[in-house]
Amino acid sequence: MMKNEKLLKFLGKKLIRFIILIIFVILLSFLLIDLSPINPVKTYVSNMIVSQEQIAALEAYWGVNQPITTKLVNWLGNIIHGDLGTSLIFRMPVVDVIKERFTASLILMLTSWLFSGILGFILGVIAGFKKDTIIDKVIKVYCYILQSAPTFWIALIILMIFAVYLGWFPTGLGVPIGTLSEDVSFLDWLKRLILPMITLSIIGVASIALFTRDKLIEVMNTDYFLFSKARGESGWNLIKRHGIRNILLPAITLQFLGFSELFGGTVLVEQVFTYPGIGQAAVSAGLRSDVPLLLGIVICSTIFVYSGNLIADIVYNFVDPRIKEGEDNG
C-alpha cells in the first residue's frame, strides 16, 4: 500500500514537471518559428500564380499579420481541443499525419531499441567477462568505430551494400512504388523496415555495450565479487549470479535514457532510407515551411523523449530493492 502511494506521489510530481516542460517547449518553438523567415502563405501558394488580393485574403484568413499573442492564444485554444491544425504539405489534419507517421517510426524505433539493447548488453557482458582478450578488443574496436562514425554515413554504407550491390532489400520507401496502400502486404512492409532497423540497432549497440563492459569490470573488482570467488564460485555462473544481477538495472536505465538519441538517429536514418516516418516528416516540414506540422512534431517528440526518461526514473527508483525495501522500512 505504502509503495503505491509513493509511486503515485512520484508520478504526480513528474506530471507537474511535464506540464511545465511542455509549456516552455511550446512557447519557445512558437516564438522561434514566428521569428524565422518562414512564410506559410508562400509555401501554400508555391508555384501557383495568384494576385496580391488573393494573398492578402489568405493572410487575413490565417491571421499572418496578427500580433504573436493572438496567434498563440488561437493556436493553444485549438490544441486544447485536440486540433493541431492542417498540414500544408500533406493537406490533411496534423493529428492524422502524426498518427500515421509516428506509428511507422515507433515500430522502427522500438524494434531497434530492443534489438540494440539486447545485443549491446550481451556484447558488453562478453567483453567484460573476457577482459583484455582478443574478443574484448574486437568488441571494443567495433564499438569505438560505431560511436565515432556519423549515423547517416553508416546508413549509406548499409544501403550501398545490402540494397544496391547485393540487392537483398529495396533501397527505400515504405511501400513498393505504384501499389495502393491496401494492397501492400506485410512482407513488403517488413522488407522495408529491416535495413533502417538494422542501421539504428548497430548504432545503438555501441554505447550500451561499452557501458555494460565497464560496469561489469567494475563489479568484478568489488569486494562481494571477490568474496564469492573465495567461496568457490567461478566462471560463467559467478558472472550470472553476481555480475548480471548488478549491472542489469543501470543498463536498462541507460537504454531508456537513450530515447532522445534514438529519436535523433531515426530522423537521419529515415531520411537516408526514405522511410515514411516521423523523422522524415519533420525534415520535410522544416524544409517546406509546414508550420503546423512542425509544431505538432515538436510536441510529439517532447512527449516521447520525456516518457523515456520517466520510465528510466521509475525503473531506477522503484525496481531496485535497496531503494524499494528501504522506503518500506523507512
Binding site: N221, T222, D223, Y224, L226, F227, S228, K229, A230, R231, G232, E233, S234, N237, L238, R241, H242, R245, N246, D320, P321, R322, E325, G326, N329
Partner: protein, 316 residues
C-alpha cells in the same frame, strides 16, 4: 601437537608501480611472511591498519589482484597449493570471513548468498536446510533469509558472514579484520564464535589490528611489522612486564598498552618502499647491533616460537 593445516613460508607480495613517467618499481607490501596454523588452533596475525595484512588472506584464497606478484609457498595439509588447487579448495576446506557487509552482494537475498551456487533444486533444498540450521545457531531468525545486506545491523552482518563460512564445514577459517567498528558486546560475541570453532577442531587464522581481540582468543600471535613477521609469540608470553617476549618491537608494543605503562617508542613504521636495507626495526631499536643496519635478520625457529632478531641467533 595437532596436525598442521596451513603453512605459509617466506611469502612476499609485491605490486608493480609506476613512479615518474614510465619508470616502474616493485613495491613490496609483504616481504617475508612465515606462519603456520594447526587444527583447533587460533593464530592471530597482528599488524597495524593498512599494512597489507589482508593481502595474506587474498593470497591464500588465490584472489589477489592481477597486477600482484606472489612468491614463496603456501601449503595446505602439507601440499603446496597452486592457483588451481586454491580454486579447488576455497569455499570447501578453507573459508574466508571478510571484513564487512560490503563483501555481500547488495542485490541478492541473504539466504541465496549463504547457500551459494547450486547445480539443481535438490541440492538447493538440502543446503537451504543446512543454512537455516546454522543461522539458527547464530541467532538469525527466518526473516533474515529474505533480507538484503543493507537491511542488516552491524552485529547481524557479522553473524551472517561467520555463518556463511561455516556452511561448507571448513577445516580452516581465515578471518580478515572481523572486529573493527563493532561495539564491545558484538566484538565479544564474534570472538566467542571463533572460540567455538576452535572447540570443533577448526583452525583459525585471525588477521587483525586489535591486540585485545588477539590476546583474548589466540593461542599464538604473529607480529607483522613493515611487511615482515618479526615474531611469533605464545599468548602466555604477553604477561607481566613482557619479559618473555623476544623482539624489542613486540616488547615495546606490549608496554605501550594503557594497562602496561603506556610507554611510547619514538618513530613510526617505515612505509612500503621505504624499508631500510637491514633490519626493518633498526631505526627505532634500542638494542641494535652494528650489523643490523646492513644485514637483514632471518626468522629464527625457537620451537613453538619464532623471532627475527640477531640477538637470538644462539638461542634465547
Amino acid at each position: 601437537m595437532m596436525n598442521k593445516l596451513l603453512d605459509v613460508e617466506n611469502v612476499s607480495i609485491s605490486f608493480i608501480q609506476y613512479t615518474a613517467g614510465l619508470n616502474q618499481r616493485d613495491l613490496k607490501v609483504i616481504t617475508d611472511l612465515t606462519l603456520d596454523v594447526s587444527e583447533a588452533e587460533i593464530l592471530a596475525v597482528l599488524g597495524s591498519s593498512g599494512s597489507g595484512k589482508s593481502l595474506l588472506a587474498h593470497a591464500i584464497f588465490g584472489i589477489l589482484p592481477e597486477n600482484a606478484n606472489l612468491s614463496g609457498t603456501i601449503k595446505y595439509g602439507g601440499k603446496v597449493l597452486s592457483q588451481k588447487d586454491k580454486e579447488e579448495i576455497r569455499g570447501k576446506d578453507i573459508a574466508l570471513i571478510p571484513q564487512s557487509v560490503n563483501f555481500l552482494d547488495p542485490l541478492m537475498k541473504i539466504s541465496d548468498q549463504a547457500i551459494g551456487y547450486t547445480e539443481n533444486d535438490n541440492e538447493k533444498k538440502e543446503k537451504k536446510i543446512k543454512q537455516r540450521k546454522i543461522f539458527e545457531q547464530y541467532n538469525l531468525g527466518p526473516e533474515v533469509d529474505d533480507m538484503y545486506p543493507f537491511q542488516l545491523s552491524g552485529g547481524m552482518a557479522r553473524r551472517v558472514l561467520v555463518s556463511t563460512a561455516l556452511l561448507s564445514k571448513p577445516k580452516l577459517v581465515v578471518a580478515d579484520e572481523p572486529t573493527p567498528g563493532l561495539d564491545q558486546k558484538t566484538v565479544k560475541e564474534t570472538l566467542n564464535h571463533f572460540k567455538k570453532m576452535k572447540e570443533d577442531g577448526v583452525g583459525v587464522l585471525l588477521i587483525t589490528h586489535d591486540i585485545h581481540a588477539a590476546l583474548e582468543i589466540a593461542d599464538r600471535i604473529g607480529i607483522f611489522y613493515a611487511g615482515y613477521v618479526i615474531e611469533i609469540a605464545e599468548n602466555k608470553d604477553f604477561s607481566g612486564d613482557g619479559e618473555n617476549l623476544l623482539h624489542p618491537y613486540t616488547k615495546a608494543l606490549y608496554n605501550a598498552l594503557p594497562a602496561n605503562g603506556f610507554k611510547l617508542t619514538k618513530g613510526h613504521q617505515p612505509l612500503h618502499g621505504e624499508i631500510p636495507k637491514g633490519c626493518p626495526y633498526y631505526d627505532r631499536c634500542e638494542i641494535r647491533l652494528d650489523k643490523c643496519s646492513e644485514e637483514r635478520p632471518q626468522l629464527i625457529n625457537l620451537g613453538n616460537k619464532k623471532v627475527r632478531c640477531f640477538k637470538y641467533e644462539d638461542g634465547v
